[in-house]
Amino acid sequence: MAAPTVDRADAGAPAAVQTLTIAKAINSGLRAAMEADPKVIVMGEDVGKLGGVFRITDGLQKDFGEQRVLDTPLAESGIVGTAVGLALRGYRPVCEIQFDGFIFPAFDQIVSQVAKLHYRTQGRLKLPIVIRVPYGGGIGAVEHHSESPEGYFAHTAGLKVVTCSNPADAHWMIQQAIACDDPVLFFEPKRRYYEKGQVDTTAAPGPLFASRVLREGTDVTIAAYGPVVRTALEAAAAAEEDGRSLAVVDLRSLSPLDLGPVYESVRRTGRLVVVSEAPGEASLASHIAAQVQQECFYSLQAPVLRVTGYDTPYPPAKLEEEFLPDLDRVLDAADRSMAW
């Protein structure tokens, strides 16, 4: 992992550096945001006493009380719809949607109200709402628990969409999302929740809505986000053993997309593979491919390739390893790109 905070930790290991899982890092980020601003409230199903089904909000209700950590009735539209009113009253609600596939009952409130009220009123109303969504597959779950719905929201003007791939980003990005005056969809890679990494809780974080080059390379650029960033890094490490140099860019922000570092890398490598778990049709991966061919047409030595989930509903869990982009599919795409 080439994130700057991790580099510094490796070098000097200051006291503020902790080894945390992504889950704990989001928890510590939420706690820091709640301590910093009494208007921050956490709301959702089971977020209080249970600490959320993934325990991301563990201990927050005990320390901040039932008025700042609301165990809500079980209705997603209600969670987001009341968050709108709370935001208009001056609060900064952080909503938890329990699983990706459960966000659709709230879709109407998110795209009809959350996304549009600022624009409709020309800035008179602000909606500083964060909607946290554990997303993606790979945990052997049943239907509706493994989906990647981020594209719907990146497609909607008025929303910002981010996703983290490591504990340091998880800790800081959630705080930055909460501090943002725009509504932010915060997608959490649930199959990476319990992977550990070092978090420097004092180092100033980089900008929230920016991608980051995690690994430089000269042969093929891999652009990835969320749970498949690790897959991309593993592919790059494996390729290196074969004498092939893959660059890896963690997109981090899906709306707005920060494709500058991708363009720069593609101008060096001449090749791009976009990796995402979401189905590829009309997807973020498709959009990135289109943007890169538009901006880097004369640099490209091969068509932009996409490694995505298939254009099917998410399959039964016993088949998800075939569905999800894995190391081999990424390496195969890199080979196809090189062979062009």
Binding site: P73, V84, Q113, R124, L125, D181, P256
Partner: protein, 397 residues
């Protein structure tokens, strides 16, 4: 209301025993109540202009106050008729008429205090009037020159909400915030009003709003204007029972008021707001009224309802009954009525003049305020757009 306890803790006879389906007679009685208002209808001024008493809801209004309510309704009706005519002339893209619902909206709107907050649907022109929104500001959304037209913070009147029922949850959340802020209590408490129609009661968001408000004791008055028709769908398509009776299932009071009676609506809404702002949680009001005109100017009610029904409801006109009462009481003379009519004429003229002055904003408005903190993607598109336009002679396409 004799006792709030009665509503908070309904007795064992209040609802049918678990598993017992309502009998056919009960259902029919419910539908009859829907048709005629029913025996639970709170009324303080009859269609004939006679004051009547209600054991739970009393209201004392001075002659001046009643003249004020009359004036409100006449002017609001004029705003509505002018806007409707403007749409017919092609000046507005659409209009949602409020004809017939003036008493429901003025009664509710005048019951509110300055610090209360209102979340309207898209037909609440009368509530907007009471919140001090200049009627001219109502036109811009329907003309397509803006998407709100007023400052929702200054007037404490949220933008119109077109997606049915969304605003009920938004209002409930706002009311939760009022409670969290400690703005509930005997002195200076605040409350919120959520306005919606009978069709909206079928939406999940309205149900969820009721659930949230109940469990968080949110100070929100749910004000349902049952105008009998959700476009072409009658109330029977929304409910087997009178809508106000649903409140009991959520554990808060539900009251059906004659929505064509401005005094009854005022009295009931004042009571409900006081319940909320003193910490007793939400109230549902069903204002039993009638949409005298189309759903919107795109609608054709002659396809789905009988003119007899319209004629019947004309006899219950909300403005005429106040006029009759004012005359009977000798609280107003012809000079007063002439003066209000003159005001209405002037307001209509102002509205027409203002409408034609509403022009499309500069094209850059497309890109304005999409985000509070901006977006490089939108910025780039704006720059590209401006560059494209600059390529034409004089910058005009």
């Amino acid at each position: 209301m004799s006792s709030s306890e009665e509503w908070t803790h309904p007795g064992p006879d209040a609802v049918p025993a678990t598993g017992a389906a309502p009998t056919a007679e009960q259902v029919i009685a419910g539908l009859k109540a829907t048709d005629e208002g029913g025996s639970d209808l709170v009324q303080l001024l009859t269609p004939e202009g006679e004051r009547v008493q209600h054991p739970d809801f009393a209201v004392d209004v001075t002659a001046e106050e009643l003249r004020g309510l009359y004036r409100d309704m006449v002017l609001v009706r004029r705003v509505d008729r002018e806007a409707n005519a403007l749409q017919r002339k092609g000046e507005l893209g659409l209009w949602a008429p409020l004809l017939g619902q003036e008493a429901a909206q003025v009664g509710a709107g005048r019951a509110m205090r300055a610090r209360d907050m209102a979340f309207p649907s898209y037909r609440e022109h009368g509530v907007a009037w009471c919140r001090g929104v200049p009627p001219t500001d109502l036109l811009s959304m329907f003309r397509g020159t803006d998407q709100c037209g007023w400052d929702p913070v200054e007037h404490r009147f949220h933008p119109y909400t077109i997606v049915i029922g969304n605003q009920v949850l938004n209002a409930t959340g706002y009311a939760m915030g009022q409670r969290f802020d400690g703005a509930v209590g005997d002195d200076g408490g605040e409350a919120t009003m959520a306005f919606f129609g009978d069709g909206a009661t079928s939406q999940g968001d309205v149900h969820e709003g009721f659930v949230w408000a109940a469990v968080y004791d949110a100070p929100v008055v749910f004000f349902c204007q049952n105008n009998q028709w959700a476009i072409s769908e009658p109330t029977e398509r929304q409910s087997r029972l009178p809508l106000y009776q649903r409140a009991r299932g959520y554990g808060f009071p539900g009251i059906r008021v004659d929505g064509n009676d401005v005094l009854a609506t005022l009295a009931v809404t004042r009571w409900a707001l006081d319940q909320c702002r003193t910490g007793n949680g939400p109230v549902l009001i069903e204002a039993f009224t009638y949409r005298m005109d189309a759903h919107t100017t795109s609608d054709d009610p002659s396809r789905y309802r009988l003119s007899d029904e319209l004629e019947l409801w004309k006899l219950k006109d909300p403005i005429e009954r106040v006029k009759v009462h004012l005359v009977k009481q000798q609280w107003a003379d012809q000079e007063f009525f002439d003066h209000v009519e003159l005001e209405a004429e002037e307001l209509g003229a102002r509205l027409r003049e203002h409408c034609s002055s509403l022009e499309a904003p500069p094209a850059e408005r497309i890109f304005s305020q999409v985000y509070a903190e901006g977006s490089p993607v939108v910025d780039a598109q704006r720059a590209e757009f401006l560059s494209y336009h600059a390529g034409f002679l004089g910058g005009e396409r």
